[in-house]
Every structure is written in C-alpha cells, then in structure tokens.
C-alpha cells in the first residue's frame, strides 16, 4: 500500500544502497581519504546545533550579532572553496541565521550547488535553502530550473518529491512553463507519493500560468476514481482551481464522460466518508477526513452554482452532511460552515436553506469566538439571498457590536449595515451611533460613511435625517471622510427653509461644546457653511423651534476663535472665511468686525487664505456693490449618493475580478442601476461640483473683480447662449442650471484680468485661460468631466473665446482644493494648471476621435460588424492601451459601454470614452492605463455592452498577448 516501503532499494544509486557494501570499494576509500586530508587542511566548522547553542547563549543583541557575523564571515570564506564537504552544514547554519533576520542572500548559489549534489542530505538541505532564500526575481532561477528538471527524472521517489515540493513553493511563471510537461508526466506516475505531489504542483503551475491548464486536463481524468486520500484531496484541489479559473473548463468537467459525471462521483466519495465506518487513519475527533470533506464541499459549490440539475444531484448529500455532523468540536463546525456556504450558493431546496440559516443561528450563539466570527461572516455573504432569515438574528448581531474583539466587531458592523431597512432604520441607527462613539479610529470612517448611506436610503423624514447626519459628524469627529461633509452640505441645501433654520441652530449649538472645533473639523466645516449660508434665517428668520439665538458679536467671536486657532486645519479655515464673507451680507450690525477679520487674512502665511482675504477685502472697498449678488445663497443642490465602497459589501459586481472600473468613474455608479451608469454618476457629481463652484466664487472670480471691470458683454452673452443651448442638447433637467449660468456670467469678467496672475486657485483659471487653445470640443469635454454628462456632444458650433473660459473653468472645478470625490481621471489633482489641462485633454481629444498610435493591434472582438481593437503602447511607468471600436454593421448601437478587468497584480485605470453612441461606421475610442505591480503577464477581460433597437446586448471576451511590462516599484 505504501510503495516507498515496497520499493526495491537496488534502484537507488550505489552510494545510497544498503545492499551495496561500500566497505571494500576503492572509490569509497579514496573519497574518505580525500575528506580526511581536507579536514586536516581546514579546521572542522562549528556544528549546526553548536552554533544554535552559541547564539542562544548570547546575552545581548550585540553579542548575538558578533557570533553571527563571525560565523557568516567563516561561511563566506568556505563558499570560496570548491567541493567543500561541509557545504551542507554551512548552509543549514546560514538558514538558521537567516531566520534570525540576518542577510543570507550570499548563500543562494551554494544552495543550488547542493541541489546538484548526489547525496540526499545535500539535496534535502539545498532545496530547503532554495525555498527559503530564493524568490521569484532571482536570476538563479534558470539554474534551479535545470536542477529541478534533473531531479524530477530521478529514480528515487524522495528526490522527485523534494523537487516537486520546491517547484510547488517557488514556481515562477517561467519555471512553471519550463517544467509543466514534467509535472504532467509525474501526475500519471503509478507511485501515489509522487502523484499527489505532482497534482499539487500542477495546481500551482495553473495558479501562476492559467494558460497551461489544458495540458493537465487529461491527467485529471482518473484522479477522482482513486482510493488514496492524498490523491483524492490533491485531485479535488486541482479540479477546483481549474473550474474557478475558466467557465469552459467547468463545463468540460460537467460534461466529460471520462470523469463519469463529476457530481455523482463527488457525492459518492463524500457519502463514503460520512457513512463509511471508522477509519483510524483519517479520523479527526470522530469525523472522517474533514480536510477532504471540505474540499469536496467547495468543489460541489462551484459545480452547483446556477446549475439546477447539478444542485438537485447534491441536495441529499448536503442535507445528510448538515444533519449528521457532530458539532461539539471545531472539526464538525468546519464542515458545517463549508456545507452552509455550499447550500446558500447552489440552487438548493427551500427546506435546506432554512436548515442552513438555522445552523448559522446556532453558530451565532456558540460560546466559541471563532465560530461566532464565522457565523457573522457567512451571514454577511448570504444576507442578500435571504434577508428575512438573517433579520431574526438582528439582536444577537447588534450584541456583537460590543464584543471586545476587533475581528468580530468589524464583521458585526458590516452585517448591521446590510440589515438596515426602512422599518428598523431608527433603532439600528441608535445602536450604530453608540457603536460609532466608542469605535476605534479604524472603524469610524467606514462606519460613518455607511450610516450616512443608510440614512440617505431609508430616512423617514428630513428632520431625522439631518439629526442623524449631525450625530454622525459629532460621533466620528475627524475620522469622517470628506464625502460625508459634501453630502451633508447637499442635504442641508436641499432641505426646506424651516429645516435649514433648525439644523443651522443645531450646528451652532454643537459648536459651543469645547474641543469640537479641533477634534471634529468636518463638523466645523459643515457648521460654518450652514451658518454662513443661512445666517439670515438663523439670526432673523422665523423661530419655530424657539431656540435661543446668539448675538451677532458672539457669532463673530466664535469665528475669530476658529480662524485664529492653530488646531483648525486650513481647509476648515477656508470654509470659515467664505462663510464669514457670506455672513457680511446677512448680518445687520457687525459688518465692520467681519471686514476687520477678513482683512487681517490679507497677510496670512497660507497662500490660499491670504488670497481669499485679499479678494474678499475688495468686496468691502471698490466693489461693494458686487458683494450682495456675489454672496447670494447657493441654489439647492441635487443630492448625490456616497459611493458604497463599504456600506454595501455585498459586492456590486458580479464579475470576480476586483479591478472593474466603469468608464473611469470609479465606484460612484454602483448604488443605483438606473439608466446609463455614466450619466448617472455624472449626475451624482453635479452636486459636488456645484459645491465647488461656491469655492471658486469665493476665490477665483474675485480675482477678476480685482482688476478692471471691463466686461466683454457680447462675449458673456455668447457663452450664455451656448450654455443654454448645450444644456438643452443634453436634455438633463438641471434645476440650478440658471444659477450656474449666472455664476458663469459673473465669471465673464475674468478675461479682462488676464494679465493679473494671482497665486492659488484663481491663478489656475487665469493661467489656463491664458494658454487655452482649446476649442468647442474641449469645452464639451470639460463639461463632461465637470458633470453635465453630455452624452451627445456633436453640436458643431463655431468656437468662441468664451467657450475656452467655460471649459477651463469647469476643468478647474475638478482641481479646486475643496473636498470632493475624485472625478474620473483627475483623482488627486493638486490644483496645478498643467495637470488640469492634461486631465482635460484626453476627453477633449477623444471628441475629435483620437487617432491611436501605430503598433501591434490586438483584436478583442470582431462580431456582427462590431470590431474592438486594442493598441498597447508601453511607456515608462505604465502601459497605455488604446481601444478603438468600429461599427461596421448597418445598425446604430446605443449606450455602448466597455468594462475591463485585469489580474490582481495589475492596476487598471480607464479614461472616459469618446462617446457611447455608434452610428453605422462610427468609432469610439477610449484609453486605458495599466500599471503592473508584480511580474506577471497581462490578461484583460472585457465586457462590452450596448443596446441595439432597445435590446441590451453583452459580449465578453478575454485578451492576452500584451507586451511584457516591468513591474512598478514595490510598496
């Protein structure tokens, strides 16, 4: 049964063969003699255990270092000698030294020499060293590939075993390619010891190089009909990997008669395991081979996923496993856990699902923390399948929020968010607020964003929503993400007047609490924004809630405190300064104090604040008459949604690939599925941008005011017209469009100020205008980026100067220093004019239909006249891939959308496509950028969606054959 015991030792090389008597062999005697001579020539090196003892005896770190350094120096010197009999011992010592954290890379080549030795001890230590000291980037890999190739052909099973084990641990893609055929040969070996190892090696080879899958397919055929558990478990592991990797292979296994119907086969094995009698060899506390059971359950899950027939075939066995497994020990729960996952993932019967959820309910009450963690984890995965069943455990889950263990708290928090609905939002929010107050810093950001998201979805009324938002801002303090600030501002701005008054007062009250301005800057930002915006309502409006109003001087004193405090961030001060300027038109008495405070910022050290100070001061002097219209109340903003990166961890993409980006607008369009994702996300952006407009109004436009107010009226009128037209073209009803245009109108004063170069944000606008050679198209491009979501930018009007301004201004929006979610490609724009122009360019150019650079074309799809081609261009830091879609058919394709995914080791960025409409003969271009984080071959999965006669069509394809790319710098 154990072939290495039955093996005939005579096949071993003579020096390993015990039947071979070495005593009278001349060669052996000679060898012993040379060894003896060598030993006299050089003193015996320290024994491995002696060295360990010495190192352990060292009392201080310095002492230890001394011992290690001395030994390392010695080892290095021996490495220079050829044919050292002590190489093996020296490497072993080096490996110990390596584990202590000392450098040991100089032993790499010596390890390879050891593996090439004929002695088994040498090989054993040599391969051990290779596994520990080599990583994939080593040039020595070619050498080790040769050693491995030799040893894979050895007649000693343990030598083959060592080689397979090493290959399994350090196989690089090149090595995997070179040795795949050897592994495949060994997979068919009659020796189970070699066969199981080769099977796992194949698993690793496929992991590294999925294309190599096919050569292993025939060899998997017989794996599942074996009795040996080693073969079975490795075989199931290999097949699982293959099925997860490609749906074609999955189908192959389902249909392949060579496997005699894989599902019944697996069911049979599993049944034998549970019903077969006690087998001491594989028993783990009363459960027969849990390792194998779990692997089989997992493979069944993949086979049964979305397959009613396969699911039907495994229902019974899953029920049997779920009811028959002993649950007093960890082993049993391990299997139950895997079973539940399988039940929830396949098309199982209703009764079985109830059984599964009940098992999870039991898990949740288990005293073992590990089991509770697993239960929460699984509930989170299954909550979308069966919410009501999970709701029953709500109280228990909320209890887990108070658990001292971080892992459990995190799971409980995520699950809580998944459980919130319109009925329980009030109680859940109350619990989550309690949690948020006490939560660790790492949770606060995620939790607050999640709560805001839930409140947006399910809030019963505006008052409650506002209160919740405020509580979150207070509870999460500085950990709140910027998106919460902007979403709160939007919420307030779109609320009715009475609510605005109410919440402004609440904000004012919250600011009275000590430390709130330093520890809770987001709160401060929102609060001063509201006070500035609604100062008149707050101070002099109707007082329905009968709150106490502060005096104007109190108000100014508070502003004075923020603006002079060293603990308040620049961003918060920016908010406060704009707010103060606004207040100057809303207050009745203290206008002079406001002016004094603002003027004092004219000499502030921070450039941005200084600029604001100087510019606002102008509004109190020459241009007094402009102040009230400039500082008008902002138009009500459209509520945008926070991206649900964390709030909804259910995974919005059905694709397994992690890097799916839709049209360069990341993460925003995930929440809703209404209409065209691009337009939707752009609509969502609108609110943010309007918000930024306020900032621009606060700083930029005033730079115009600072110069001569020679207004190019006709110019502004031209733009005005153009804009109205454009808005109409777009057909998106934007409520505040008119106001926006008013703002633009104001901005038209800017051209007169071209010569004044002001630092900071204002400068950007002017600089850009200065250098703007952009045309009408770039304006539309700019608009696109800016959030109008113009899907049809074909209006071919005569370009005017004013358009440039709008383009650059809207472009400038995305770079304004205020918080906003990243807009497409301009993520992280640092307010530099050059960068902004760069960001505009791709969009702008794409309207002219970019001519992709010449190079090797990869055809991704050529179907029904639709031709998608990719042109990769390798650059210094990233690979640019230009996608060109040509519509060769006679039909018009609408809502064309390209999604792409790459492996985990790459980062993909997609820029905005040139359009989404493909008339016959039409062309859409889009640029993608790929950055490699490790050494791998790029493959890209593309999903192409379009509508033909109102019917949605989806094409999927995989593209490979991209040029090699050097990985970027490691983290």
């Amino acid at each position: 049964m154990y072939p290495y015991y039955e093996q005939d030792w005579s096949v071993l090389p003579p020096e390993n063969n015990r039947r071979f008597n070495p005593a009278f062999n001349m060669a052996t005697i000679r060898q012993a003699f040379t060894e003896a001579v060598e030993r006299v020539r050089m003193p015996t090196p320290t024994r491995l255990r002696d060295l360990i003892r010495q190192i352990r005896a060292a009392r201080t770190a310095a002492e230890e270092r001394a011992v290690v350094n001395k030994e390392c120096a010695y080892i290095r010197s021996t490495f220079r000698e050829e044919d050292s009999v002590w190489r093996c011992r020296n490497i072993a010592k080096l490996l110990y030294i390596h584990m202590l954290g000392y450098p040991a890379h100089f032993g790499q080549l010596e390890c390879l020499k050891l593996t090439a030795s004929t002695r088994f001890t040498d090989k054993r230590i040599g391969y051990l060293g290779a596994m520990l000291l080599l990583d994939e980037r080593q040039d020595v890999h070619l050498l080790i590939t040769n050693c491995l190739k030799n040893d894979l052909n050895s007649s000693t099973q343990f030598v083959v075993g060592l080689a397979l084990c090493t290959l399994g641990a350090i196989a690089s893609p090149e090595m995997a390619r070179d040795l795949a055929s050897e592994v495949e040969r060994l997979m068919k070996s009659p020796n189970t010891y070699i066969r199981k190892k080769a099977t796992l090696c194949a698993f690793r080879v496929i992991r590294r190089v999925p294309e190599l899958m096919e050569i292993f397919l025939p060899a998997t055929r017989s794996l599942l009909s074996e009795k040996n558990h080693g073969i079975l478990i490795t075989g199931v592991t290999l097949i699982t990997e293959m099925c997860e990797n490609s749906s074609d292979t999955l189908m192959h296994f389902k249909k392949d008669s060579g496997n005699r119907e894989i599902v019944p086969n697996l069911v049979r094995i599993l049944k034998n395991l549970i019903l077969g009698g006690y087998s001491p060899e594989h028993d783990v506390s009363g459960v027969s081979d849990p390792f194998l059971q779990v692997k089989i359950l997992r493979l069944l899950r993949i086979l049964g996923h979305n397959d009613p027939d396969a699911s039907e075939a495994m229902n019974d066995i899953l029920a049997q496993v779920a009811t028959n497994t002993e649950t007093s020990k960890n082993v049993g729960n391990t299997i139950l856990y895997e079973t539940v996952l399988s039940i929830m993932d396949i098309r199982s019967e209703g009764g079985l699902r109830v059984l599964a959820v009940n098992i999870l309910g039991r898990f949740l009450l288990n005293s073992d923390k590990n089991i509770r963690y697993v239960a929460l984890n699984t509930l989170l995965r299954t909550v979308h399948a069966d919410t009501s069943a999970v709701q029953r455990h709500r109280t228990t889950i909320l209890e887990c929020l108070k658990d001292p263990d971080v892992s459990i708290r995190r799971r409980a928090m995520e699950l809580s968010f998944a459980l919130i609905n319109a009925q329980n939002i009030r109680t859940m929010t109350k619990e989550l607020l309690l949690f948020l107050e006490k939560a660790d810093a790492e949770f606060k950001a995620q939790c607050s964003s999640g709560m805001i998201l839930a409140a947006e979805r399910y809030s019963p009324n505006t008052r409650w929503h506002l209160d919740t938002q405020l509580s979150v801002l207070i509870a999460a303090g500085n950990y709140v993400r910027d998106d919460v600030v902007s979403s709160t501002i939007q919420l307030v701005s779109s609320s009715p007047v009475s609510e605005q008054t109410y919440i402004t007062n609440r904000f004012w009250e919250s600011l009275q609490v000590a430390n709130h301005c330093e520890d809770k800057q987001p709160l401060l930002q929102v609060a001063v924004w509201a006070i500035g915006e609604y100062g008149d309502l707050f101070m002099y409006g109707s007082n329905e809630d009968e709150f106490e109003r502060p005096s104007e001087s109190d108000l100014i004193a508070m502003y004075h405190k923020f603006l002079t405090s060293a603990q308040v961030s620049t961003t918060s001060k920016q908010y406060a300064l704009v707010s103060l300027a606004k207040l100057s038109t809303r207050l009745q008495q203290c206008v002079e104090e406001v002016q004094a405070l603002i003027t004092s910022f004219g000499s502030h050290l921070n450039v941005d604040l200084q600029q604001r100070g100087v510019e606002f001061t102008q509004l109190f002097g020459h241009y007094k008459h402009l102040r009230p219209p400039l500082l008008e109340k902002m138009p009500a903003m459209q509520i945008s949604r926070i991206s649900s990166q964390n709030g909804e961890s259910g995974g919005s993409f059905d694709d397994n690939s992690p890097d799916v980006i839709e049209n360069g607008v990341e993460g925003v369009g995930n929440v809703g599925n209404v209409g065209h994702p691009l337009i939707e996300s752009n609509m969502n952006m609108l609110g943010d941008n309007t918000n930024i407009l306020l900032d621009l109004l606060g700083s930029t436009d005033l730079s115009a005011g600072a110069s001569e107010l020679v207004t190019a009226t006709d110019l502004s009128n031209a733009v005005h017209k153009k804009n109205t037209r454009n808005a109409n073209d777009v057909g998106v009803s934007v409520s505040n469009n008119q106001d926006l245009l008013d703002l633009l109108d104001l901005d038209m004063t800017a051209p007169a100020a071209v010569t004044t170069t002001t630092p900071g944000a204002g400068g950007i606008l002017l600089d850009q205008h200065h250098s703007s050679a952009t045309n009408m198209n770039s304006m539309l491009g700019g608009l696109d980026l800016g959030g109008f979501g113009a899907p049809d930018s074909g209006s071919g009007s005569v370009p005017t100067n004013g358009n440039d301004l709008v383009a650059s201004m809207l472009g400038g929006l995305s770079g304004a220093p205020a918080p906003l979610p990243a807009v497409g490609a301009s993520a992280g724009a640092d307010g530099n004019g050059g960068i902004l122009l760069g960001d505009l360019n791709p969009t702008a150019a794409s309207n002219n239909v970019t001519v992709p650079p010449q190079g090797p074309k990869l055809t991704a799809l050529d179907k029904d006249g639709l031709l998608v081609q990719l042109v990769p261009v390798t650059g210094n830091d990233c690979m640019r891939i230009y996608m060109t879609t040509t519509n060769g058919s006679g039909n018009t394709l609408e809502q064309y959308l390209l999604k792409a995914a790459v492996q985990k080791s790459f980062q993909l960025q997609m820029l905005t496509p040139s359009g989404n409409l493909l008339p016959p003969g039409g062309i859409i271009t889009q640029e993608m950028r790929v950055v490699a984080t490790s050494n791998a071959v790029l493959r890209m999965r593309l999903r192409i969606q379009y509508a033909l006669d109102g019917q949605q069509l989806v094409e999927q394809t995989e593209v490979s054959g991209f040029p090699e790319q050097q990985p970027g710098p490691a983290e």
Binding site: R47, K196, L200, I233, P290, F291, N370, A970
Partner: protein, 157 residues
C-alpha cells in the same frame, strides 16, 4: 490556498517561516514584524482570525509558540485551524511531546515535516501515518549515506 505560515514565540522571535507566495525579502520581514506585533497584542480570549490586507490571518497558540497562517478570502478559516493542529500533532509524534526547543534545534526537520503535509499552500496528505512514514524513510536515507565509523563529525552535526 495558504499564502504563508509563520511560527513565532511569545517573545516575538521567529521560529519558522514558510512562504508560498513570492515576496521580496524586505516585504517578508515587514509582514512578519507587523503580524507578530498585532497577534501578540491580542488577548487570549479573542477569536483566532484577523482580517489583514486582502487576506485572512488564522493563528493559534500552542504553549509558548504561535502558529500563524495567512489564507485567501474564500478559504475556510476553521479548516486552517485544523491544518495547524495537524501540523502540531505531527511535530509532537515526530519529536515525542514536542517543545519549542525541539523546533529551534531541529528547525530543518520541522520544515521537512511541513513539506510533507503541504505543498504550494495546499494539503497533500491527510493521513498522519503516511506523513511520518515518508519522513522516517527520508531520515533513514540520510543516515545511511553518512559514514558513522570513519569520522564521527559528519552531516549537520
């Protein structure tokens, strides 16, 4: 698939490291340092799982030694605990009630045993008997080729 396995003492000293993913040496050291500190800071009653970067850490303490494994998101955490336990059982059988010192002084043996249990981060053998038999045969092979009579100072010493 298991990404790596670390054994370290209560004092934070690394006793064994097995990497199934190719990381540069620097990254390995950083990961080890981070995990050792995080795990040692956790209280004994906390659960054995940690979410860390994009993988899951499963750890368990046996006497003075922590066994810590990183697995992928889809892997079964409870099963990983069983794998750790199986490894401990194997060490125990091989050394005869194993202690930290055995693993320090015979670290290479501990690696050999692990390599007979796992390959490429997956289990290759679920029978304890088979693993130990394979190890014993290989030890015998090693012993045979070490001439005992001529000079005693041979092998690893």
């Amino acid at each position: 698939m298991m990404l790596f396995m670390l054994l370290f003492s209560r004092q934070g000293k690394l006793r064994l490291q097995k990497w199934y993913m190719a990381y540069p040496d620097k990254v390995k050291k950083k990961i080890t340092r981070e995990l050792v500190t995080t795990i040692l800071a956790r209280k004994p009653k906390m659960c054995s799982f940690l979410e860390w970067k994009d993988c899951k850490i499963v750890y368990k303490r046996y006497a003075s030694l922590y066994f810590c494994c990183a697995i992928e998101q889809n892997d079964n955490e409870l099963l990983t605990l069983e794998i750790i336990h199986r490894y401990v059982e194997l060490l125990d059988k091989y050394f005869g009630s194993v202690c930290e010192l055995d693993i320090i002084f015979n670290f290479e043996k501990a690696y050999f045993i692990l390599d007979e249990l796992l390959i490429g981060g997956e289990i290759q053998e679920t029978s304890k008997k088979n693993v130990l038999k394979a190890i014993a045969s290989q030890d015998l092979l090693q012993e045979d080729e070490t001439p005992q009579s001529f000079f005693d100072d041979h092998g690893l010493g």
